[in-house]
Amino acid sequence: MKYLLTVVAVAVALTPTSMSAQSSDVPRAWDGHPDLNGVWQAIGTAHWDLEDHPSGPGHPDLGAIGAIPPGQGVVEGGEIPYRPEALQQRQENFENRMANDPEAKCYMPGVPRATYLPHPFQIIQGNQKIQIVYGFAEANRTIHMDKDDPEPPPIDSWMGRSHGRWEDDTLVVDAQGFTGEAWFDRAGNYASAALRVEERYTPMGRNALMYEATIADDTVFTRPWKISMPLYRRLEENARVLEFKCVEYSEDLLYGHLRREPTR
């Protein structure tokens, strides 16, 4: 009993960085950096709402299946520091989420939302670039590790432009160049095209990564703010990211009113 307690106490005391530094079971890539290859997924309710949220009703047709499960927030300090006018927009987003949430429309989820959608993603870690292939909406990202002097994003995009580097065992990714149309969750949290995200992926042993994202956007928030959550390796022997081309399932929402027999 005493032995067990000790183990737990140690685990709690570890911060992500110190853990990886001490961890000998972090898989290593050919160059000695952590090997992040694999299929990963967040568990939790961040995709519903990054902030603390009680349970709530969903679309009535779906009964309890569509209900919003309760969840503890992942925002450091508890609340997203919106500017007052931006908070109003978040509220409007929430009220109109059935029609306007980009996830409902099968639009690319953007960053950081892609990371904690309830779908797995696969990291393919090359020696020059890291490709992340997400299950949802055929979204994918290239993290350029081979640009010493990152050029500005050539065009705005849903998934942004990502440049990465290693800080000890942490993969640090600077993502910017967004369209400003993506949301952060199903609660309508959002940012503008001025969004800049610094992500940190730190191994917590073999089968988990600590994911931290610092979100900066002067036009929407009063200061940068941070979310963090673990990402878990999918341990099923046959784990893989299955194709989920969701466009088909968004077409009624988007084009139902234009059918010969309208459905909306």
Binding site: Y107, I123, G126, N127, K129, Q131, R260, E261
Partner: protein
């Protein structure tokens, strides 16, 4: 009437309105120049020659396959990378005049806009012609390369009528042209200030906003003026303030020993000044083809010891290669570079026929690599044709043909009536690997045991395992199927099954087994072979092949947010509903 006297000059020296009598040195202060040519960018000069001959009554020039004589002004078509149409540059359009413009416009409308057809710029009310009070009837068309052309009804001056500049200072610009090239000040119809060179006008309008973009590389690359004495004229031109960018010299591959100089005109317009006798340069397919490898290539290895296919590749060179060998080319080994260029241009024009200026300005894919001279993709069967269909395959093909016929009769009732590509779902396999007119990027990133192949077009990514894994069950079928890869020497072989059959490639369906072979045959070449085996459709498997070229230095895949920006779906469906209403007797 006009120009009968200068026809000899046209035939002899292939120039336009020859103002001075040859041999007489200009006596006026300004150089006495005349229009010589309009230099149009095009990858298939032969197609351009026939377009201007057929549609605008220009004449082919003997011994020249790259130019036409439009009532005295030469249009020279030069194969070179194009970066867009004429609009937005300092040369807004060129103009032709017809005695009966209504009839001419009707004739051009009947041509249609597809491929190398005629595109019309419609006025707000949908008409192609309008009466300009006090001037004449006019309308605008575009050639397939993005040259804006005004057609007018000015019985006083027929044929090639004017060049219309777009200038921040129209008055100053006309004064400059007069100082440098001469020309006679005149007022067209007593209303519009211009210069007359012979009986072709030079007009200038106020540029709408900002500074005009350079003409260099655009559909009209430059305007050419001819002078009798280039050296003498050059002195006068310098005195008038002309800036020589290229001194008088005989260009490489010139057809004659006549010299040419380039000067920079106002509003970023590039101008050539040539000596009498200048007859253009022989086409030089300047974008070099990548040499075929002569010995086996040992590709680089990843640090973990697999063949390294990583990088940004493009299929631009392969765009235009037909799947099947054309029936009239049964024995031809390869196209000539000129034929390949013309073929790819045909593919380009067929793909972007309805596209507006912004697309044409930025997305033309044909300047990246010399086009492939490969005759067809299919290498097996040896005749380059798809093998015979099975009886079931014939039925599938007939059903598809019936569905297509029905579609034009009965437009989309809903999204499902459109293809998965139009709906931005998937191009399927092997469709997603095929070259297209734009966004041809292919990025490969490898990790130990996995190869990620990302196609830029509608952003689809395949993750191929190179170590054996359990296949998906029969109930789990997808658009891009279940791939299993392995390395065979330096070749990545990928076998894919479990297709959902919602896309098809020439009739391939859910029973297809697709076997692909990726082989790096040179640092810059990735050979792609694909074998389609669908015994429900064809009596034997067939194999196609084409090559991707490495383009790491300048190419970066952009995010092709297809579904997110699919205005086409809304427009197609709302258009179909408007037709429904019209058929039901209502208005659109």
């Amino acid at each position: 009437m006009r120009r009968t006297t200068s026809l000899a000059a046209v035939a002899l020296v292939a120039v336009g309105l020859f103002a001075g009598t040859p041999g007489i040195v200009p006596e006026v202060a300004a150089a006495e120049a005349d229009y010589h040519h309009v230099h149009i960018t095009s990858f298939g000069p032969a197609v351009s020659v026939s377009w201007y001959t057929e549609h605008l009554d220009c004449q082919p020039i003997a011994d020249r396959d790259d130019a036409v004589d439009c009532q005295g002004v030469e249009l020279i078509f030069v194969p070179q990378p194009t970066t867009g149409g004429t609009q937005g540059t300092g040369v807004n359009h060129i103009s032709f005049s017809y005695a009966d413009l209504t009839a001419k416009m009707a004739e051009l409308e009947a041509v249609g806009s597809r491929g190398s057809g005629v595109r019309h710029q419609r006025f707000e009310d949908g008409s192609t012609l309008r009466e300009e009070p006090g001037l004449f009837k006019h309308g605008f068309i575009f050639d397939p390369w993005g040259t804006r052309i005004e057609l007018i009804e000015d019985s006083e001056y027929l044929g090639f009528h004017h060049i219309h500049l777009s200038s921040t200072d129209p008055e100053g610009t006309l004064a400059w042209y007069q100082d440098v090239f001469g020309g006679k000040t005149a007022r067209m119809r007593g209303r519009l200030d211009g210069l007359l060179f012979g009986d072709v006008w030079l007009l200038a309008a106020k540029h709408a906003e900002g500074v005009p973009a350079t003409t260099k590389g655009r559909a009209i690359d430059h305007l050419g003026f001819v002078v009798d004495d280039l050296d003498g004229a050059a002195v006068e031109m310098r005195r008038a303030g002309a800036d020589f960018q290229v001194e008088p010299t005989v260009p490489d591959n010139a057809r004659t020993s006549a010299r040419r100089a380039f000067i920079s005109g106002p509003d970023n317009v590039r101008l050539a000044v040539v000596e009498a006798g200048f007859a253009g340069v022989e086409a030089d397919h300047a974008v070099a083809a990548i040499a075929e490898p002569t010995e086996p290539f040992n590709p680089p290895q990843t640090p973990w010891g697999e063949p390294d296919l990583q990088g940004v590749w493009t299929g631009n060179a392969a765009h235009g290669i037909p799947l099947e060998r054309p029936l009239d080319l049964t024995t031809l080994e390869n196209l000539t570079p000129a034929e390949a260029a013309a073929r790819r241009e045909g593919g380009t024009l067929g793909s972007i026929w309805g596209y507006e200026r912004e697309w044409r300005d930025t997305t033309l894919g044909y300047d990246k690599n010399a086009p492939s001279t490969q005759v067809a993709m299919i290498v097996d069967p040896a005749d380059g044709r798809l093998p015979a269909m099975t009886a079931a395959g014939e039925r599938t093909a007939e059903a598809a043909a019936r569905a297509r016929a029905l579609y034009t009769e009965n437009r989309s009732a809903g999204p499902e009536d459109l293809t998965p590509y139009v709906r931005c779902i998937s191009r399927g396999l092997p469709g997603m690997m095929m070259p297209s007119i734009y966004n041809n990027g292919l990025q490969i990133v490898q990790g130990p045991g996995f190869v990620a192949i990302q196609k830029e077009m509608i952003h689809e990514t395949r993750v191929i395992p190179t170590e054996k894994r359990a296949p998906l069950g029969d109930k789990l079928k997808t658009y891009l199927g279940d791939p299993q890869g392995h390395w065979d020497g330096n070749t990545l072989i990928v076998e894919t099954k479990n297709f959902n059959g919602k896309t098809n490639y020439r009739g391939s369906g859910s029973e297809m087994t697709l076997t692909e072979r990726f082989t790096r045959t040179a640092t810059n070449r990735l050979e792609y072979r694909f074998t389609v085996d669908d015994q429900t459709m064809w009596t034997q498997p067939w194999t196609g092949m084409f090559t991707f070229n490495l383009d790491n230095d300048q190419y970066d895949l952009v995010e092709y947010a297809c579904h997110e920006g699919n205005y086409g779906m809304t427009n197609i469906l709302s258009g179909a509903r408007a037709l429904d209403r019209e058929r039901a007797g209502g208005s659109r």
